[in-house]
Amino acid sequence: MLTKSNMAPRRWQADALVAGGLVAALYGLMHLSSFAPDAYTSTAVDLGVRHLPYFAVRSVLRMLAAYGLSLLFTLTYGYVAAYNRRAERIMLPVLDILQSIPVLSFMPSVVLALVALFPRAPHVGQELASIVLIFTGQAWNMTFSYYYSLKSIPAELREAAAIQQMNGWQRLRTLELPSAAVGLVWNSMMSWAGGWFFLMACEMLTLGNSQFTLPGLGSYMQAAANAGDAKAMTFGLSTLIFVIVLLDQLVWRPIVAWADKFKVELVNSGTPPRSVVLTVLRRSQMIEWLSLHIFMPLDEKLDGLVNAWLGRPKDESPGPVRTTFSYVLTAAAGLAVLLGLWKGITLLAQLPLSVVGDLALAAGASFLRVTAAIVIGLAWTIPVGVAIGSNPRLSAYLQPVTQIAASVPATALFPMVLLVLLPLPFGMNWAAVALLLLGTQWYLLFNVIAGASGIPADLKETGAVFQLTRWEKWRTLILPAIFPQLVTGLVTASGGAWNATIVAEYQPFHGAIHKTIGLGATIADATSAGNFPLLLAATIVLAALVVSINRLVWRRLYRLAESRYSLL
């Protein structure tokens, strides 16, 4: 059980360990990336429209590989964290921090490091880097969901499995995976959507004299914007939206509708999600024949084989061999962490003292930009979201539109935003805020809609009976009622905005690099200049800033929302 008492005492030790590990990992990455070729330019992107299907396939395959990796990670990491009490104490804080640090700040070093690993074939390294980066944007929420699902399986269902002598495999199939299915599917969908954001960002990367380009929709659109080719831009964007909507309809919706049967509820509630595709598949004679004569017997056979191999459940007590092994492993990992930490600290010691002021200024600027983006986002999403959420007819028209609009990853729109805003005075500053806003506003909007549509009718009627003025109604009913959802949206939005600073504050465009003062720009700049001490310092500052904001602001608001404004 995840109770306060067993989490609290180890919290800070675990945090310190994780922080040390991160610095060590960062140092390792930077060390590797110093071996990357000095000036490298991938083949230019062909802007011919006929290449678009090929680019789309390449992008989707990249996403698929990253998602597969995320799923594999989720199933193993989540499982171990849920069942191994000792590992849980470290694994959970690690996950928590990994989830809250802006992973894009690692992007430049990851790309350089992996390119350096494959000196003969830089594109392989770059391909791997893009997959790793998308993975880091997808895996954490899925893992958390799987872990919590496993932890919250009702005791009686577990006992039923035990008394029926199920072995580990049978338990996984009949109890654990089904229990986790709903959460896993929803989080997969979110992760997939988030994956597009990272994909667009990492398909084309300019660092110093090197330009890394992977064939795909993201690089196509950046190249099109760079060339000022309006036709290519329109076609690229339409293809992207088409692919996203197609996958949503053909893959995700059927899966969501199918996963509905795994809801742990004993009464039918609400309208279940539907999918035409799934209904067609379910009614198809051919599919039924296949399942009856091929899939089911095959499944039975496989199941039998695995069971024969595993045998009956044994008395589960951890053997002494494993513990010795784990001690050795822990000691080795600890040594590596200490070494990396030491190297990292010596690296930081090379920095002049003036860097402190520079970093503080950069952090302040980024903070203001993120805040501005969130405030602008709130200013339009609260009234619009409440209007949509409390008006079913409006919602029927606008929901699909907003969903499609939201499905376009902000990074895909960056080049176009730059095209419009750069010519203005302080253009890059405006552009950066606009880019952050693009990446965050949808989280806010959807949560406000969800909150507003959940306001119980009797509360609204009470407001009407007492003839509350518009302001009173907002103050006493609407704002408190949407508060919990709003906080959820804000947490995600803030995380997304900080992450996006890396790409928003530093943009190559029309052959030049455009940047403003900010932590994101500092990180991208330091990487391209090979200034590792500065890169390390800036990344640490950014990660620490985001984690502290999470702990000090969002988590408290979250608790307040849960305890006081919850409608249940």
């Binding site: 008394i163 029926q164 002598q165 509820e265 039975e300």
Partner: protein, 445 residues
Amino acid sequence: MQKDVLKKDVLIETKGVCKRFPEATATTLEEISLQVREGEFVALLGPSGCGKSTLLRIVAGLIPPSSGEVCYRGIRVKGANPKASIVFQSAALYPWLTVQQNVELGLKAQGVPAAERAKRAANLIRVVGLDGYEDAFPKELSGGMRQRVGFARALAVEPELLLMDEPYSTLDPLTAENLRDELLDLWLEERIPLKCILMVTHGIEEAVYMADRIIVLSRNPARVAADIPVRLRHPRDRRSPEFDALVDQVYKTVTGAGLKQTQTPAQQRAVVERSGRYKPLPNAAVNMLAGLLELVDDHGGREDLYTLGGDLLLEVDDLLPITEASELLALANVVEGDLVLTPTGKQFVEADTEERKALFHQRICQLPMFEMVGRVLRAKRNRTMNRQFFSDLLEEQFGPEEVPLQLKTLISWGRYAEMFHYDANAEELYLDEGDRGLLATGSEQ
């Protein structure tokens, strides 16, 4: 079946089974030694939270005992007993599997081939009267039908030992009675190869109606308080005088077992001073307490607990905390299964709201926990203390799961008595102008 039971083999034997949970300092089960023979239907009765279900799970091999051992046919049980099956309170069906798949589950785990599985499952589904529902999902079924599936699933593996954890408690009375009779038919006519049934229940009538033997557990810690044979012939008539007498006898034993530990406040204070511990507050609402006392007063100041439970439509489990509270506050006493108003209790019933509150305050001031709260609040300059402080203080004794319940009762009683205020947002207890807690109680001076 019970006539020659003593000649039959001992199926289950628990030898000095103890169970402690790391969170709570108190032992849950202490020195439980029992023998259950082939052919017996045993009911485990006891006040709620006494550890009946824990004992059932230890017998099943789902939880290891802290000390002592459980033997099945003379062999020590390690891990889930393959000869046993459980019917759970919630039926515990897998929501994503159909009725048929749920029933087949245990057979599948045993590696029974698909065709054989389907045949045996279909047979049991017919036995529990659910033919036609093979393809239904649990959420499409009523509670009673779900529990039928639970029975079918448990019986499909042809267990020797059937363990039941309050299997009828979530069903409506009619369905429950129906299911009880069906199980008794299967059992008495030996239509299923069962050797023994062990049922946890808090329904005294249910136990007398079904079982051959009733084992009563006491609370805190749970020990075997009584082992009562039931020699009534099946089918048993609930309206017969013998049935009634037996129910009454068991009722007295159970309430005795639940209340045995209650001491007068003076004795209790002595215990607290010795061990530094607080007597747990029964989780009873003040208005329920007042209602019960008024009812007893209407009956002339003394009434049978069993009758009271019937009047209030309360099971003994729900009634016990209220009677415990009335004893703790010396408003009534339990004498031979009857609840008897004390003079203070009589005074309480006749008082108006304000007087009741004053009297209630006077009574709770006698309890060490309230005394402590009053002392702490008065000692602070701002007369305020956060909830966490008391929570931490009590956690050592009660464990993390019980503390919120204790504090809930503490705050609710304190608020009623106007002893202190509680700010739920700030999570603080505080003394306000006019609060009775501002005045020190007599015992302190």
